[in-house]
Amino acid sequence: MTRLLVSVILTSLGALVYGLLLGGVSRVITASIHGRIGPRLTQNFIDLWKLFRKESSIHHGTMFWMAPMFRLTGGIGVLLLVPIIAGNSVLTNMSFSGDLLLVLYFMFFGCLGMALGAGDSGHPYAVVAVSRGLLQMSAYELSFSAAVLVLALGLGTFSIENIVSAQQGGILNWNVFRFPFATAAALITFLPMNMTYPFNIVLAPQEIPIGPPTEYSSRFLSFMFSGRAIFGVAKLILFVNLFFGGAGSWSSLLIKTFLLYMYPLFVSPVFPRFRTEQSVRFLWFVPTSLVAVDLLRVIL
C-alpha cells in the first residue's frame, strides 16, 4: 500500500514536471517560428508558482470548487491506469486487464467536471465554450473510440499491457504500421484533445475570451494548469503505448513522448481556428472514414 502511494505521488510529480517542461519547449519553439526570442524554458513553473500564491477570494459554488480537482483527478487517473514503462513493476501502477475501457472513460472525466464547474461560474462565455466543447468532444470521441476498438479487435485484447507486448519484436510490429488508418485517425483526434489550433474552439482566445476558465483565478487556475500538464503527459504515454510500440526504457519513453508532443507544433502555429461547425464536420467525416477502412479490414 505504502509502496503504491509513493509510486503514485512520484509518478504524478514526475508527470507534472515533464508536462510543464514540454509546455515550455513548445512555447519556445512557437516563438522561434514567429521569429521571437520567446519565454524562458521554466516560464510555466514560474507562472504556476505565482498563481498558486495569489489570493483566491472568489468562488461561485461547490461545483466551481470541485472542477479543478476533477481535472487534476482525471489527469492522474489516466496516468495511473496506463503502464508507463512496460515490464517495470513500480511504474505499472494500477493497470490491470480490461483497463482500456476504464481509461477511455477517465479521459473524458476531467472535461465533464470542468464543464460543470464552468457552468457553476455563471459566466456567459464559459457556458458558450462548454456547449462547444461537449459538441466537439462527441465528434472526436467517436473516431478515437473506434480507433481503439480496431486495436482491441485486431489484437484480441482490451489490456494496454497486452497491446504493448503484441507490438514487441521489431518496428514493423508497431500498431502504426499494422493499423495505419486507425493511427492516422487517432492522431487527428489528438489535436482537439489537446485543444490546439485549428481545433481550439473551446478556449478560443479573442473570440470567447478564454472559455471555461474565464472566472477561475489564482489557486483554482494553478490546479487546472497542473491537471492539464499531467493529463497531457498521460495522453502522450497512452498514445505511445497504443500505437508506437510502448516504451521499454526511460530513454525510449522520453524520445517517443517528446516526438509525439512535437507533432501538433507542426500543425498549430500555421493554421487558423476552425469555426465550430467546420471543426465538428471535419471530425465527423475525416477521421471517422479513415478509421472505417481499418475497421472493415479487421472485421472482414
Binding site: R27, A31, H34, G35, R36, I37, G38, P39, R40, Q43, I46, D47, W49, K50, R53, K54, E55, S56, S57, I58, G122, P205, Q206, P209, I210, P213, T214, E215, Y216, S217, S218, L221
Partner: protein
C-alpha cells in the same frame, strides 16, 4: 449576484516565501487586455516579433480574474473610470497598475476637459507611470522593467495602499462619478 463585503486589510505574516513569491510575480506579469485612451494602440506591438514581451514572461489575459497588471493606457474619461474600478477590484491580489502617457499623470492635453480625470493616482493606486504622449513600446517595456524591479524589492504595494485607504479612494471616486451605482466592493 455578487458579494458586497469590504475586503479585509492586508496582513503581512508570510515572510518565508516572500522572496520566492516576489521573484515569481515579477517574472510572470499577466496583463488584463483592456485599453483606454490613445495608448492602447502602442500595446499591440509589444506582442510582435520586434518587441516580444513574452521574453519577460509578460502575457495578455482576456479576463481580470487571471491577470496581475492593469494598464491605463492614456486619458481616462469619467465614464471609463467606473469600468476601470470594476475591473481593478476584480483582479486578485497582488495586482499592479501601470499608467501610460501624460494624460494619466497630470491630464496631459486634456487637462481642462470636462469629462476626463487629471491625476489617476487619486482614484486608483498607480505603481509605475510611463511618461510621453504617446510612450513608444520601448518606453512601455522600460516601465515594465521598472515595475519588475519594484516588485522584486517589495515596493510595488499599490494594492495594499488601496485596501488600507479604501475610504479615501472611494471618496475621490464618488466625487467625480455622479451617477454612482457601484456596490461597496466589486468582487
Amino acid at each position: 449576484m455578487y458579494c458586497n463585503k469590504i475586503p479585509d486589510k492586508p496582513v503581512d505574516n508570510e515572510k518565508i516565501w516572500k522572496k520566492l513569491d516576489d521573484l515569481a510575480r515579477a517574472n510572470s506579469l499577466w496583463i488584463t487586455a483592456y485599453g483606454t485612451g490613445c495608448g492602447a494602440i502602442e500595446l499591440r506591438p509589444l506582442h510582435t516579433s520586434r518587441f516580444d514581451m513574452e521574453r519577460f514572461g509578460i502575457a495578455m489575459r482576456p479576463t481580470p480574474r487571471q491577470s496581475d497588471v492593469l494598464i491605463i493606457s492614456g486619458y481616462l474619461s469619467v465614464k471609463t473610470l467606473k469600468r476601470v474600478i470594476r475591473v481593478y477590484e476584480q483582479i486578485q491580489d497582488p495586482k499592479y497598475i501601470l499608467a501610460l502617457g501624460s494624460c494619466t499623470i497630470d491630464g496631459g492635453m486634456y487637462f481642462d476637459s470636462y469629462n476626463t480625470i487629471n491625476i489617476l493616482d487619486r482614484y486608483i493606486p498607480v505603481d509605475v507611470y510611463v511618461n510621453g504622449c504617446m510612450p513608444r513600446p520601448e518606453a512601455v517595456i522600460d516601465g515594465f522593467i521598472l515595475l519588475m524591479k519594484k516588485i522584486k524589492e517589495g515596493k510595488a504595494v499599490g494594492w495594499k495602499r488601496y485596501k488600507e485607504n479604501l475610504e479615501y479612494y472611494r471618496k475621490n471616486q464618488r466625487e467625480i462619478i455622479r451617477n454612482w451605482d457601484l456596490p461597496d466592493y466589486n468582487w
